[in-house]
């Protein structure tokens, strides 16, 4: 038999709760704060977007030596006769176009596998005015205006077209000079 003090214990009893790990609220805060920081950082730093080739040509005097991302579509695919080893470095010469405006490009390294005529590319680099690394080279179907874009990173901006007549479509959009014009 329990004694009197034990008989009616009506004091609030601590319920044994299912304890969640103590680090969980901290993790929640970290994750949400992380998402917010990434979003803010992204919005602040993403003010620079790809500059289409036609706009890049218009503003090349103002651009100076500044690195930026240039958007355009290769006018032709790259053949072996467009690649040169100069002072131990491999350079590839090609031209890109946007809205009918051509830009000559010198790329350090080999273009990626998906580099192809009519497939838009994003080139990271800067404007150069003057002789090419191979001074005798003449761009086939290129601008050949004394300016060239020096790049060391090529990203392929594949379009959403999975049909067979991709080239014809790119010509219609003005991203490539029409076959009859070149």
């Amino acid at each position: 038999m329990p004694d009197d003090n034990q008989a009616m214990d009506l004091s609030p009893r601590r319920q044994e709760s299912k304890k969640s790990p103590q680090w969980l609220p901290a993790l929640t805060v970290i994750v949400i704060a992380g998402a917010v920081i990434i979003l803010v950082w992204f919005l602040v730093t993403n003010s620079q977007s790809f500059l289409p080739a036609d706009e890049a040509v218009e503003s090349r005097l103002e651009m100076g030596e500044r690195r930026f991302q240039l958007l355009g579509s290769p006018v032709t695919n790259v053949d072996d006769d467009q690649t040169f080893i100069i002072d131990g470095n491999e350079y590839t010469f090609f031209s890109v176009s946007f809205d009918g405006i051509l830009v000559d490009v010198v790329s350090q390294g080999t273009p990626p596998d998906l580099f192809d005529e009519g497939i838009p590319v994003v080139l990271e680099g800067k404007w150069v005015q003057g002789p090419l690394p191979n001074p005798l080279y003449v761009f086939e179907n290129g601008a050949n205006d004394g300016w060239w874009f020096a790049t060391n990173r090529i990203l392929v901006k594949h379009d959403n077209d999975y049909r067979e007549d991709r080239i014809g479509d790119a010509e219609e959009r003005g991203q490539l000079p029409k076959a009859s014009e070149s």
């Binding site: 929640t28 998402a35 993403n46 990626p112 594949h158």
Partner: protein, 260 residues
């Protein structure tokens, strides 16, 4: 809500039918995706990721929108049913969103020439969506009164769902800030077997979402019932203990003449 014949299971005729559809459908999709559809002229075999990446992305959106709707209805109706829907859908949305990021990255390497671009609006907004879903689910684990927990989660659930139009439209709104292509489906840039296989993938992703959703909802509902039963059980236990103690005291009073 649960299976009447066996309350330990969350299956029903409907879920078994969906499971059967998936069992038949997934190998069919693999057959079409890997063997019957042609490779892309430019992208070659990498194009086959289209049949899983796009359906996963679309149903990640569906899952998050469902979480948003469930959250709104919880705040309006104060119904546990809607809270359970929101919770279940967010878990599935997180899995789908994670798969979208992984398959997208795998696809990006051969296609764009990079696994990831921090300046890319589509990639970063999708990552933020993933992190927000993670935050939503972590918040649900923070110990609190069930109503308070559901209320907090509903507010976050609505914020997460608001992110969907931003993620989806980012390729249109900031076209020159992303490597990601625009929609091939709405622009009619798919044809023949490629289009058919993508639709097959979409149907299967939809069935998979519904199947997972039904099971996860039922598990969630059972958890809620157990929580409620647990609270009632504790109360009944206390009442029973109190009644027993009173009876013992009366016996003491009668037998030993102790009066308090």
């Amino acid at each position: 809500m649960q299976n009447v014949r066996n309350p330990n299971l969350t299956s029903s005729k409907g879920t078994r039918f969906m499971g059967f559809l998936l069992l038949v459908g997934v190998p069919t999709l693999v057959l079409f995706a890997f063997f019957l559809t042609p490779e892309d002229d430019n992208m070659e075999d990498a194009v086959r990721l289209l049949y899983i990446h796009v359906p996963m992305a679309i149903f990640a959106y569906v899952a998050v929108i469902t979480t948003g709707i469930g959250s709104i209805f919880y705040l309006w109706k104060k119904s546990r049913w809607w809270d359970t829907v929101a919770h279940a859908s967010a878990e599935i949305g997180l899995i789908f969103c994670g798969l979208v990021l992984v398959t997208g990255s795998i696809w990006g390497r051969p296609t764009w020439n990079t696994w990831w671009e921090w300046g890319d609006v589509r990639l970063v907004t999708t990552l933020v969506l993933f992190l927000m879903l993670l935050g939503y689910l972590a918040l649900r684990q923070v110990p609190a009164n069930p109503d308070l927990r559901a209320k907090r989660a509903s507010v976050v659930g609505i914020i997460v769902a608001i992110n969907i139009p931003i993620v989806n439209r980012s390729v249109e709104w900031w076209e020159n800030s992303t490597l990601h292509q625009q929609s091939s489906l709405t622009d009619g840039k798919l044809e023949d077997l490629t289009l058919f296989t993508l639709f097959l993938g979409l149907i299967l992703a939809g069935v998979c979402y519904l199947w997972l959703m039904t099971h996860r909802f039922r598990v969630g509902w059972l958890q809620t019932e157990i929580e409620n039963e647990g609270a009632i059980g504790v109360l009944q236990e206390r009442i029973a203990e109190g009644t027993a103690s009173s009876t013992e005291t009366i016996i003491k009073e009668d037998g030993e003449g102790e009066v308090r």
